[in-house]
Symmetry: C2
Subunit: 114 residues, 2 copies
Amino acid sequence: MEGLPDEALTQIAAYFQALSEPTRLQILNLLREKERNVGELAQLCGYTSANISRHLTLLTQHGLVARESRGNSAYYRIADASVYQLCDLVCGNIARQHDRAVKGRAMFTGTAAE
Amino acid sequence: MEGLPDEALTQIAAYFQALSEPTRLQILNLLREKERNVGELAQLCGYTSANISRHLTLLTQHGLVARESRGNSAYYRIADASVYQLCDLVCGNIARQHDRAVKGRAMFTGTAAE
DNA sequence: GTATTATTTGCGCAAGTAGTTAAATAGTCA
DNA sequence: TGACTATTTAACTACTTGCGCAAATAATAC
């Protein structure tokens, strides 16, 4: 990422944006287990199929999931498993930040920072 | 990320959203070299100080940069260097996707997929 | 105190986005 | 062919967000 041109930054930003939506992360999380069709995902997420379908097209455009048409259903599966690596990294960062917050509060409350 | 509750997904999404903006990535990229104050960053990015200041507050809230007030300037520096790791991962993913695109096109154009 | 500089914040505008319903499209089965 | 089901797309609403301008705040110098 050292000396990247502006266009590259734009693409990276777009990739992050695809991951910046709870519903899309939920979809990716559900697809971790096994492939699913749109209706299943919609029901599991608690949204309309139309909505989930649009999220899936966006994820497909970024190469995160892959679509396979079978019967009159569309099955989606993870296409780039490194997403989970990304999420794990982020989880670690968030956890560290929570730690700092707890320790910071401990200074005032006297609570043990566990 | 396996069995995360919805709230966790929301936090992860928020973290990704902080990185989903070209200007913010540019700021992080500039801070890689050394700390900078708001005015410098504004000039380097080509935006108003007001705009950059807001981006910096957001990045600070997510623990990505840290602020230090010196004189009547505010100096910002990277607080979580693992951001660059994240970006490197994403760069790899985008590169792979470009590769696939080139190779896919090659089937039709006869172009060598370099 | 005033003047000057740097940063932050309030406000408004334009563009983007997640969600809905309804219509269009595609596939299966009789 | 038509009926039925699944998915995608269109149209719309409500909300969010990046930006600039101008005012407010903070720190230094006189």
